[in-house]
Amino acid sequence: MCGLAGILHLEGDGIVTRRELEPMVAALAPRGPDGTGYYTEPGIGLGHARLSIIDLAGGDQPIHNEDQTVWTVFNGEIFNYVELRAELETRGHCFYTQTDTEVIVHAYEEYGDDFPSHLNGQFAIALWDAPRRRLLLVRDRPGILPLYFTHDPGRLLFASEVKALLPAMRRRPALDPAALNQLMTFWAPVSPASLFQGVEEVSPGEMVVVENGRLRRQRYWEWTFPGDGEYLRGSAEELAEELHELLLDATRLRLRADVPVGAYLSGGLDSSGIAGLVKHSGHPHLRTFSIRFEDPGVDETEHQERMIRHLGTDHTSILCRNADIADIFPRVIARTEAPVLRTAPAPMSILSGLVRQQGYKVVLTGEGADEVLGGYDLFKEAKIRQFWARQPDSKWRPALLKKLYPYLDLNQRSGSAYLKQFFGQGLDDPEAMGFSHLPRWSTTGKTRDFFSPEFRATITDDPEATLAARLPAGFSRWHSFNRAQFLEARTLMAGYLLNSQGDRMLMANSVEGRFPFLDHRIIEFANRLHPTMKMRGLNEKYLLKKALTRHLPRETVARYKQPYRAPDIAAFFGAGGPPDYVRECLSPESLQATGYFDAQRVQHLLKKIEHGRVIGFKDNMAFLGVLSTQLWHRTFVEERPAQVTS
C-alpha cells in the first residue's frame, strides 16, 4: 500500500510546485514510509508516499508509459499484474520496471477507460493523460482503498486521505451535518459524502474523469444480482468445489510479493479458512497474528489456539487490555478521519502494530466473507422477520428470533411487546428498500437524539432517502436476501469495515491488508448463487463451509458465528476513571463550543455510566459517537494533535 496526492489546475496550465505537494505527501507518511516521489508539469502535480512490496529497488512512483505521456501514482496492488503484463507485452508495450504499477499506464493505453475492468486487485489510482489533458481517479470495486478529492478555487485536490488535502486547501473544511447524520444511521456517510464539507470520495467501483475543467463520475463495476431463474445451476457439492477453486486462486494471487506475507487468525471460519488455503497452496512458512482480550466476553484465544494446532503456523498474539483501547483512541480517530460507534478499530491498530514490529508488511485477512457469502446475523434476522411477516398474527413465528437472541423472554409481556416494537418494524412492507436493516438503523439512529437542537436544525437530509436515491436501477427487483447483502456491502462494509476498521488501522502501522474474499471473481460468483446456497435456512455461509471444511477442524466449521467485538464503554471507565481527554471532550464547555451535541443529555449519559447502571448497545454507540465526534473536531477543525496518553 502507499499514499497518493495531487493537484490539478482546472483551467489553464497553472504551475504546481513540489513545495505544494510535499506537505500533502508528508501527511501520508504512515501509508508510505519507504520513499516519496513527485511529478509535475504545467497544469498538474502528482505526489506519492511508498510502502515497497513489489520490485523493491525499481518501483518508485510516479510511473510512466514508454514516451512519458501517461503518468500514474497508485496505492494498492494489481494482483494479476504478471498475466496482464504478458498480455500487454504481446501487444507491443515495453516495460521499464518489474512493478504491478506499470501495468496501469499500459492497460490504459491499450483498453482506454475500460482498463480497470482488466485489473484484479485493490487500488486507488490517479492517472494523468498529458496529450488529452485528462485526469482519471479510480477506486477498486468493493472499496478497499480510500480516495478523496475536493475543489479548491480553480483547482482539484486529490489524495488517499483527507488529511493530505488539508495543507493545500485555502479554507479548512467544517463538519458536514448531513454526513454525520448519515454516519449515525448507517455507521458511515452515504458515498460519496465524507465528514468534511466539500470533500467527496471516489465511490467503490467508480472512475472520476476530469477533462476540460469538468468532472464526471462513471461506474465501471457494481454489485449486481440475477433475477429468478438466472442463478447458477449445480448441486451444492459442485458449486462448493467451484468456490474452493476460486478461493484458492484468489489466495495464491494475494501471496505475490517481494516481502513475506502473513495472515490474521481470529479463530473464526473466515480467517481460519484463508490460513488453511494458504497452507494448501504450498506456502512454505505461514506466520499468523491475532489479538487477545483481557475481557473474556470478547476473547477468542481458545478458538485461535485450536486453529494454530491444526495448521501448525508460527503464531504471535498480543493482549489488548481495556486501558490500551482508551489510550490510543484519540490517535485512532486521527487515522479514521471519521467518528466511530464502537472501539473495534482500536485493537485492529494494536494488531497491525504487532505485525509491523514482527517485520511483516503484508497480511491476508478474512474480511468480506460475511457480506459476500451470507454470514451476518442481520441477514438471519431479516429472514426471520420476513418469515414472521408472512403470518404477522402468528404467536409462534417471532419466537424464532430466540435463535439469534437467546436472552429474549417471550413469556413476559414486556419481552413480547419489545419484540413487536423492535423486530416488528416494517412487517407491513417486507419488500421495502431498507426492510432488512430497519432494526439496526433505528437503534443506531438513537444516537442522533444526542444532537443539540441548534445542530439538528442545520440537517435537512433524510438519510434513508439519500441512500435510496443512490441505489442501482435493478435493486428493487433483486431477491430480498441480495438486497440486504447490497446494503451491507455498500454502507457498513465499504464505509466502515474496510475503511475505519480496515485500511486506516492497517496503514496506521504501514501494513497492507489483502482480502481474498473480496476478489471480484468471488463476489461475482457468489452474487450468482441462489440465496439458499449462501444461507440455508438459518445456516450461515452454507456453501463456504462446504468449500472450506477440508481445511478446518470440525469445531471451527460447526461453531456458532461470533462477531468481532471489543470492549466499548468499559474500556474508558476502568478503576482509575476515564482518561483526561474524555472528561475534557465531554465537558459542557467543550460540547457547547463545538455545538454538535446537547450537553445536558451527554451529562446524563455520563452519570449513568459512572453509576454503573446497565449499559446497552444504544448507550455504547451514543458514548462513542459523541466522544469520537468531539475528538474529530479537535483534530481536524481545531488542528490539535491527537493526544496519546501512553
Binding site: 429472514k383 426471520i384 418469515f387 408472512r390 403470518q391 402468528s394 404467536k395 409462534w396 413465528r397 419466537a399 424464532l400 430466540k402 435463535k403 439458499t532 440455508r536 435456512g537 438459518l538 445456516n539 470440525r554 460447526a558
Partner: protein, 85 residues
C-alpha cells in the same frame, strides 16, 4: 412419497441438527422428540426451512408432532401442502 423432497429434508435435518452428512445417523421414521434432536426454536427453524425450500405456507395450528416429528411425517406433510396449493 417423493424421494427428492425426502432427501432434501433429511439432508437438512442431518446437517443442521446432527452436524453430519451420514444418512445412516437418522432413520426416516425416528421421532425427533424422542431422540431430542429438535427443541422448540428448532421446530420454528424447520418450518422456516420448509417454507423457503418448498414454497409452502404453514399455519400455527399445523405445528403438531403428527406433521413434523420425523423425516417421513415431514415429507408427507410437505406433499399434502403442495398438493393443496
Amino acid at each position: 412419497m417423493s424421494t427428492e423432497v425426502k432427501d432434501q429434508i433429511k439432508q437438512y435435518i442431518l446437517e443442521t441438527y446432527l452436524f453430519t452428512s451420514d444418512t445412516s445417523a437418522l432413520g426416516d421414521d425416528e421421532s425427533f422428540l424422542d431422540r431430542g434432536i429438535i427443541d422448540s426454536t428448532g421446530v420454528l427453524e424447520l418450518i422456516f426451512f420448509l417454507e423457503e425450500q418448498f414454497g409452502v405456507k404453514i399455519a400455527d395450528e399445523e405445528l403438531l408432532p403428527e406433521n413434523l416429528d420425523s423425516v417421513s411425517r415431514l415429507t408427507a406433510f410437505v406433499e399434502r401442502k403442495r398438493a393443496a396449493a
